[in-house]
């Protein structure tokens, strides 16, 4: 199988590919030209299906089991549509109507020509001249019947179901359902609240047996952990008894599940989805930078979901990244500006720091930044460093990569740290030099952003030798304890900015919630500080700063903030 990312772009040196071969079909009476082949779930060209052709015509055919990035199963039958193909006479020539247009033979049952026969749009390739009747009475009748059948044993417990509000069963019931149930028999009861794995709970009664979860874990993750057991109306999604569904991608099955069968233990019964504000963001857990949607309500982050981006993460993200948000709401978050260990104000702290830095002899200041910071923050730090003749570095964070999405680089913006000139090819290479400078007394002031330098060779006894230790962080640690000036910062969901992932994708993220207490997005006070010490940048907005940065640093190629959409742009590095 292939990872769910787009194949590498063709090199610019290659000749432009010939225009794709097209097929003309009619969807709901509208003539459209669609490519003869379209990418399948692995991105390989395959004959265009009726479902894809309808999409090209702007018509969405309802479906449960079909998913762009999973092998086609064709088992839910929801996408059944009536269709027609041009009639061919005994002479192998098209049969024409009186007006010269091709005569269309509607699909019917072979033994019962009066009865329309549907085909599943997800798995039926189109042919030239085909007509797809996605709204015809026969199609509607087939849909209603399929939906009625899927609801036979469904518990209809929408009021307490986590999927309510984003459930395909609900949506299609509104569009194609019936207000009254004709079902008078007893419903089949299936297992409920099945503990499938450490992060997943399964309600088998809500399941429509689309097998998206089975295909995902087998074909995308390579962990063939799920299957359908029993048969007929007793069909049940299950793991092998005694085995748990536990890989680092299990929570994607919750997104994939078109109904409320697979639920996240983390999110289950916590919040009604329609109350959530959705903010486009980027995961900060590793260098891949999976695109996310933050679901928040009244300043509290309730869940992260992957946001589809074929250039980065496809529609998936790992469980580690998805659950890496709890710390944002920790009670011990740094919420106060502190000067000399006492609560202070931003104006006092920034005035003191400015005064000190403005008179600092060249080379007497060092800066340890974090590769978890945004490009804009790093750019401002580099500006300060240039003015002060300060030595800078960031800290490497490494882990085991996997074959799907997780990068070995656990910093979200190592590339940005390098591009802005804060760190070098190897992050952390300057740290011993900084430690030695402090020990020898040449470095009198240290500025630390988002890292605990006591863990990286600059211990508390060294920090005690400094005249000034400016620390900005989010959570307390030994370095924040030792700070003379402590500036509470913001987590990624609390600010805006950009990162560059390990593959050079420049991506933007937005603010979902407010930082607690006096904490502020770093960009705000860094801008004040940099303007006061190194001279004005001439802009006070993040957009302006970004544009200034991309103009100053050639690797960013002058890309404008407005040109970086929510899925980012790839830099040529």
């Amino acid at each position: 199988m292939s990872a769910p990312v787009t194949p590498p772009a063709t090199a610019a040196t290659q000749a432009a590919p010939p225009p794709p071969e097209t097929v003309t079909v009619k969807v709901n009476g509208k003539t459209v030209q669609v490519p003869k082949t379209m990418p399948n779930w692995q991105g390989k060209p395959e004959a265009t299906t009726m479902l894809q052709a309808a999409r090209c015509a702007g018509v969405d055919i309802p479906h449960y089991c079909y998913h762009d990035k999973l092998p086609v199963a064709g088992n839910c039958r929801m996408c059944l549509v009536e269709f027609g193909t041009p009639m061919i006479g005994p002479d192998r020539k098209p049969v024409l109507n009186e007006d010269g247009s091709p005569k269309i033979a509607r699909s019917v049952l072979p033994y019962e020509p009066g009865t329309p026969r549907g085909a599943i749009a997800c798995a039926t390739p189109i042919s030239p001249g085909m007509e797809i009747y996605a709204d015809s009475p026969a199609t509607k009748q087939m849909r209603e019947a399929v939906l009625e059948s899927l609801l036979i044993n469904h518990p209809l417990d929408c009021p307490i179901c986590d999927q309510a509000g984003e459930c395909k069963l609900q949506e299609y019931s509104v569009q194609h359902g019936q207000a009254e149930s004709r079902f008078v028999e007893a419903k089949v009861h299936k297992p409920k609240a099945v503990d499938l794995g450490p992060r997943i709970i399964l309600d088998d009664e809500r399941c429509v047996l689309c097998t998206r979860c089975i295909r995902f874990t087998k074909d995308i993750v390579n962990d063939d952990a799920l299957g359908i057991v029993n048969r007929g109306s007793y069909n049940t999604i299950s793991a092998f008894p005694g085995k748990t569904f536990d890989n680092n991608y299990t929570l994607n099955t919750v997104d994939l599940c078109p109904v409320g069968a697979l639920t996240s233990k983390d999110f289950r019964f916590k919040m009604r989805v329609w109350f959530l504000k959705e903010t486009a963001s980027v995961c900060t857990t590793c260098g891949t930078g999976c695109n996310t949607t933050i679901g928040s309500r009244e300043g509290v982050v309730h869940r992260l979901e992957p946001r589809a981006n074929d250039a980065v993460n496809g529609p998936w993200m790992c469980d580690t990244g998805r659950l890496n948000y709890k710390w944002i709401a920790r009670a011990d978050r740094l919420k106060e500006v502190r000067v000399g260990g006492r609560k202070s104000t931003w104006s006092t702290a920034l005035r003191e720091i400015t005064a000190k830095l403005s008179t600092a002899p060249a080379g007497s200041v060092a800066i340890v930044a974090s590769a978890r910071q945004t490009n804009e923050e790093l750019f401002l730090l580099k500006r300060l460093a240039t003015k002060l003749g300060a030595i800078t570095d960031s800290i490497a964070r490494e882990g085991e990569p996997d074959r799907l999405l997780v990068s070995g680089d656990r910093n979200p913006n190592s590339t940005g740290a390098r591009l802005t000139g804060v760190s070098f090819t190897e992050a952390g290479i300057q740290l011993p030099k900084i430690a030695a400078g402090i020990a020898s007394g040449t470095i009198r002031s240290l500025i630390v952003f988002g890292e605990d330098v006591t863990q990286h060779g600059i211990d508390a006894s060294l920090l005690a030798k400094l005249d000034m230790l400016v620390v900005s962080d989010i959570l307390p640690n030994a370095t924040t304890e030792a700070a003379t000036h402590l500036l509470p910062g913001a987590a990624a969901p609390e600010k805006r900015g950009t990162f560059v992932n390990v593959k050079g994708r420049l991506q933007k993220f937005h603010k979902a919630v407010e930082a607690p207490g006096d904490a502020r997005p770093e960009i705000e006070f860094l801008q004040e500080l940099a303007d006061a010490v190194a001279g004005p940048t001439g802009t006070s907005t993040i957009e302006g700063l970004f544009n200034r940065m991309t103009a100053d640093i050639p690797a960013f190629g002058g890309v404008q903030w407005s040109a970086v959409g929510d899925t980012g742009v790839t830099l040529s590095l």
Binding site: A225, G227, R231, F240
Partner: protein, 181 residues
């Protein structure tokens, strides 16, 4: 309880795999053979089959749960299969099953075959046993009983109760392997 497949059986199964273009295709034959030997398909048998064929246990478990002829529990020494299909149903097979269950203290409404705690009897409601002309029919282990009356049912029970119960999971049960389902 340790699970071990005797060497001759394993050799037979290894040879069987070579008959198929892909190993997975041998799954059903493995399960039949293991059920014939052990009397039922245990969890260990599923795992053993999966390991042998390069599959995940869930792949084999899907098959075991799909086909009612595969048993996941040991059966009683006397396996009573009462036909439930049309002519037997018309001739009173439901009452017959009720009689068996009541006498043995089993739940006549349960979906799956049921075994008495002493391991002597299993009662199961099955589809057509292909003796519609002499309904109602009951298959007791491998013996077909036709036109079964209440008295005949009593006799089946009394004969069965003279036999020793199968100790759970140890004695291979005769006639337990996928007979007409």
């Amino acid at each position: 309880m340790s699970f071990s497949v005797p060497a001759p059986l394993e050799a037979r199964l290894d040879e069987l795999v070579t008959h198929y273009p892909v190993k997975r295709s041998a799954s059903l034959m493995f399960l039949h053979a293991l059920q014939e030997h052990f009397g039922y398909v245990s969890r260990e048998a599923v795992e053993w089959t999966a390991a042998k064929l390069g599959l995940q246990p869930i792949n084999v478990y899907e098959l075991v749960t799909f086909y009612p002829m595969f048993r996941q529990e040991p059966l009683g020494t006397t396996h009573v299969k009462v036909c439930r299909t049309l002519s037997c149903a018309l001739a009173g097979s439901a009452a017959l099953r009720e009689q068996f269950c009541k006498k043995l203290g089993l739940d006549s409404h349960a979906h799956a075959p049921q075994t008495t705690p002493d391991g002597k009897f299993t009662v199961e409601f099955v589809e057509c046993l292909a003796a519609c002309g002499s309904a109602p029919v009951v298959l007791v282990n491998e013996d077909l009983h036709e036109r079964v009356t209440a008295q005949a049912a009593e006799k089946i029970l009394s004969e069965g109760s003279r036999l020793e119960g199968a100790a759970k999971g140890k004695t291979p049960v005769k006639g337990a392997s996928g007979a007409a389902s």
